[in-house]
């Protein structure tokens, strides 16, 4: 790791001031992506501004039809939170599939979403559940937030503080994890909001995206059977040593069907 200076922020305001004062500084929350990246010398920030333990970022609460999750909530906290399990069990289940137990004890939802790794799980939750990303300066709709590989609508110095998840009628996340890394080779969150259907796909493309054809089809008939004529295109999907684009296109179909079947109780056979 290159030399750097560590700064532990005691408030969001202080973190903002430090970010402004040090243009090469980076925010540190759980560090589950950042520290390994630094160890490999793939980044060279001058300072790390630690916001991982700010109490103002840790709260998880329900406000009628909205679940609010603080940006520094740990994956393990989201997975085990009674409030989350009651409001959106699919979100708790998704959080429990990220990385491994030690990673879930440190990693934060804000860090995962701000990093927008194309194979991360949380972006699918934020996009699929049509969440609002709350930052130090504004509120951003999920559909406007994610802008492709490791790219988001966040401006310099803007800090994610919380997520507002509208509580859906029903939802399920089906994930095909890479057996070694645990990242999603493809993960699909299917959400029946009560007013419509949203299907968010992670791990398959350059960033999380919605599969609109499946949404329309499921809106017409929320069933595995409605997939008979559907096949996601392989165009533009990720290709690597683990899976080519056609394989991932098929995974999108299979994971979407599994998610729907888990919701409806249909058999996949």
């Amino acid at each position: 790791m290159y030399q750097l200076s560590y700064l532990k922020a005691s408030s969001l305001a202080q973190a903002g001031q430090w970010l402004a004062a040090h243009p090469e500084a980076k925010l540190l929350a759980g560090g589950m992506t950042l520290i390994p990246t630094l160890k490999q010398r793939l980044a060279q920030p001058s300072h790390l501004v630690d916001i991982g333990n700010l109490a103002e970022l840790r709260a998880i609460r329900r406000d009628r039809a909205t679940l609010v999750v603080g940006a520094a909530a740990r994956h393990a906290e989201v997975a085990s939170s009674g409030v989350v399990r009651e409001a959106i069990p699919a979100l708790a289940a998704l959080a429990n599939q990220i990385g491994d137990p030690a990673v879930r004890n440190m990693g934060t939802i804000g860090g995962s979403v701000a990093n927008n790794d194309p194979a991360a799980d949380y972006p699918a939750a934020v996009l699929g559940l049509n969440a609002t990303v709350v930052t130090t300066t504004r509120e951003i709709a999920a559909d406007d937030f994610f802008q492709g590989m490791f790219t988001t609508a966040l401006a310099e110095g803007e800090i994610v503080t919380a997520f507002k998840f509208p509580v859906p009628k029903r939802a399920h996340y089906a994930k095909f994890p890479h057996p070694a890394s645990g990242y999603a080779m493809t993960g699909v969150l299917v959400v029946d909001t009560g007013a419509g259907v949203r299907v968010a796909v992670t791990g398959a493309g350059a960033g999380v995206f919605r599969w609109q054809a499946a949404e329309e089809s499921l809106q017409a008939s929320f069933s595995v059977a409605s997939f008979k004529a559907l096949q996601h295109s392989a165009d533009g999907l990720n290709e690597d040593m683990h899976a080519d684009a056609r394989y991932r296109a098929n995974l999108i179909n299979v994971m979407t069907k599994r998610a729907v079947a888990a919701i409806t109780g249909e058999s996949l056979l």
Binding site: Q3, Y6, G31, M32, G99, D100, P101, A102, N105, M106
Partner: protein
Amino acid sequence: MSNLNRVTLTLNGKTVSHDVEDRTLLVDFIRDHAGFTGTHVGCDTSQCGCCTIHMDGRAIKSCSLLAIQAQGATLTTIEGLAKQTATGLELHPMQQAFSDCHGLQCGFCTPGMIMAAVDLVKHCPNPSREEIIHGLEGNLCRCTGYVNIIKAIDQGAKVMRGAV
């Protein structure tokens, strides 16, 4: 530029204090500065789990944290699990179970396995086989094929919850 800062924390019940660079990893603090070499480094990519310890009661990978992030924290490593009794050192039930069930071969991954297992059982006192496997996803063993490790954790969990 080599800015040293004092990191003070509680390690296995004792206060430990050292001047380290901000970039010093917690695992290096534990091994090189505090001298507790039971916590191992098996990879450089945060995947193997050999460096798993407990920080403020939760399992974490000490290779993926800066020492200064643990400022003021309470840490337990594999060396802190056994109990000192009048007749000598008494192994933690999970350590004893790994020994009894032959839950290791070369032993390199074992400290991390045991720390992960103790944390798992603390939050899930009666884990199913699937829960044990899910709980071990962050710990790699290249010798055993995991069969006896799973058996050991099942056995250790029974003793920890007083079922035997």
